[in-house]
């Protein structure tokens, strides 16, 4: 599904991502973990086209997307959420979502002027798509609420829905459960599983190990921009390098 080869990103002298190669399979939950500043968000930004890599290759379903711009990558089916959610506070949930389908539509200024058939059809489709996404994340009761009046967890769900409204094949979720309480975190975990059941591929950055270990099919561990491990949760959990760099040795301390 998503294949990355020798990906490197330099910021000045700093290698934020350093020679990372990985292959994320379709229709599963792939997690990326690592200490703060390990390069996880940068990795996502590279895939989604926000940054251009210094070297290396990114393949999406075999297609080379390495140098593509952000919006182009999104059209190819990469949806994402951000570490900090930025929604339109004084508009309703539904209104925030409708624009998500924009990339699948083609009407322009001229269509607006003559109110073309195409525009009408596309607007209807966008609205339907938004409702569908809202339904998926379980928020249809809140469609007319202002974002400003939503709870933290509802905002996260809206952000998910927005990514889903773009009709993606793969979604990149950057710390979706940060600032969300454990119970709600489980809700979000269920949601991710549901996405996979519906044929999506999920890539996930998270610091909440309970959640990661519970739902991830595959984990990649970054540290100082380098991949230091990858594998199933149980493999990673017991990898001494990972324990050293990230998980910390509870055993050590407990001993």
């Amino acid at each position: 599904m998503l294949k990355v080869e020798h990906l490197t990103k330099m910021f000045g002298g700093l290698a934020a991502v350093n020679d990372v190669s990985v292959d994320f399979g379709a229709n599963q939950i792939n997690a990326i973990i690592g200490p703060n500043g390990a390069g996880k968000s940068t990795f996502f930004n590279l895939i989604s086209g926000v940054y251009q890599p210094t070297s290396g290759k990114i393949l999406l379903d075999g297609q080379d997307v390495t140098t593509m711009r952000c919006d182009h990558v999104a059209k190819l089916g990469v949806g994402r959420t951000f570490q900090t959610t930025n929604l339109f506070e004084t508009a309703t949930v539904l209104d925030n979502l409708i624009v998500g389908y924009r990339l699948r539509t083609r009407s322009g200024l001229w269509d607006v002027l003559i109110n073309s058939k195409r525009l009408q059809a596309e607007e209807r489709a966008a609205r339907e798509k938004a409702r569908e996404a809202l339904d998926f994340v379980g928020l249809n009761h809140a469609e007319n609420r202002y974002i400003a009046d939503c709870t933290q967890e509802e905002r996260k769900r809206v952000a998910f829905a927005l990514a889903l409204a773009t009709d993606p094949k793969i979604v990149l979720l950057d710390e979706p459960a940060a600032g969300v309480n454990p119970e709600e975190t489980e809700g979000l975990a269920d949601l991710m599983k549901k996405m996979v059941r519906n044929g999506l591929t999920v890539c996930l950055i998270e610091h909440k190990m309970d959640m990661i270990m519970g739902i991830a099919d595959k984990i990649m561990v970054l540290d100082h921009g380098e991949k230091i491990a990858e594998g199933t949760p149980s493999e990673v959990k017991n990898n001494p390098v990972v324990i050293e760099a990230y998980l910390g040795s509870d055993h050590d301390a407990a001993a």
Partner: protein, 345 residues
């Protein structure tokens, strides 16, 4: 009670009432001067609608806006007075030219962000002003352009008279509002708003930032050019002061007072401030002593402007009353669902 009144205001029919009022205004006005001022206010409102597209919807504070207004006015002025063109052909030329220049300026300036963009465009606006003032071979410099042709009328309609010009301007204003509302409701408008919320998010939704921003920029400059062209046809004299940066600041003020990013904000703001300025005239040089602090109080206590505050209040109230926003036609920011029927009508 208040809420019911508000709901009445938001009823779709109220815009026809508004239109009827505007059509009857020359008959209701005490004298021609009031019609004249109203026509000027409408012209400014058209320009402010443009401002609202790029700044209110798309979130880019373009301080060169007044400059494009002046370019529109000068295009008509110079073509009709120096090159013998008719008004309407010059009018078209003004739209095209402001559009093309909008594209060029936008392509350079929109690479900058936030304050940098604002101040960069401030300087572009100032350069436009300086060129109007200094490039004598083309613009007549400080002397300005005289003998500008009035819009050619038809039959008994003579656009050198105030009332016909009023209707002409009103026609364009209504068209602009209608067009803007179409943009606002459409996916295109939502795209603009997505960009205002943040470049990163918009881009991740597959929106081509540069293309969309430039489009918004061009729409705004063409509005400004249209307003400028009408201005030249109505006043029939333009000078470099028409490109003064102060006009841009005035337009910001109109927009903020009315409600930035709302459909009727520009109209409300422009009409009320233009009339307020006229009625404070008796204070002569001291009116800024009142006007300045008023502006400050306004942004502190009514940051959303008249229309913005009203719409937010209505929405909250509707939610609180459990009506659900579907029943309330929110004209604000992004359209709500009940609007579809209207769209197709």
């Amino acid at each position: 009670m208040m809420f019911k009144l508000g709901a009445l205001l938001m009823h779709p029919a109220s815009k026809y009432v508004l239109l009827a009022l505007a059509l009857l205004f020359p008959a209701l006005a005490v004298n021609e001067y009031q019609v004249y001022v109203m026509a000027t206010a409408f012209i400014w409102a058209i320009a402010v609608y443009g401002f609202n597209v790029i700044t209110g919807y798309c979130g880019q504070l373009n301080l060169a806006h007044g400059g494009f207004f002046a370019i529109g006015a000068y295009t008509v002025g110079l073509l009709t007075s120096d090159y013998g063109w008719g008004f309407w052909s010059s009018f078209l030329a003004a739209l095209v030219l402001t559009g093309v220049l909008g594209f060029l300026v936008g392509a350079i300036s929109l690479r900058l962000k936030e304050h940098y963009f604002a101040i960069f465009t401030l300087c572009v606006g100032f350069i436009i002003y300086l060129l109007l003032d200094k490039w004598e071979e083309l613009t007549h410099g400080a002397v300005g352009v005289r003998n500008i042709a009035a819009p050619e009328g038809f039959g008994l309609v003579n656009f050198r008279e105030t009332v016909p010009v009023y209707y002409l301007v009103l026609f364009f204003l209504v068209f602009i509002i209608w067009f803007t509302s179409r943009i606002q409701k459409s996916l295109l408008g939502r795209t603009f708003i997505a960009i205002r919320n943040g470049d990163d998010l918009a881009e991740s939704l597959g929106i081509n930032l540069m293309k969309t921003k430039i489009l918004a920029f061009i729409i705004s400059t063409v509005y400004a050019g249209l307003a400028g062209a009408l201005y030249a046809g109505m006043i029939r004299f333009v000078g470099p002061e028409d490109g003064n940066v102060l006009h841009t600041f005035n337009m910001i003020m109109y927009m903020l007072v009315g409600g930035i990013g709302t459909l009727f904000g520009p109209l409300i703001g422009t009409i009320s401030i233009v009339w307020l300025t006229q009625s404070l005239q008796f204070l002569e040089e001291y009116r800024m002593i009142i006007f300045g602090p008023m502006l400050v109080l306004l942004v502190i206590f009514f940051p959303l402007g008249v229309a913005g505050s009203f719409l937010t209040w209505m929405h909250r109230k509707a939610q609180a009353l459990g009506l659900g926003a579907k029943k309330v036609q929110t004209e604000s920011k992004v359209k709500s669902s009940g609007q579809e029927a209207n769209n197709n009508a």
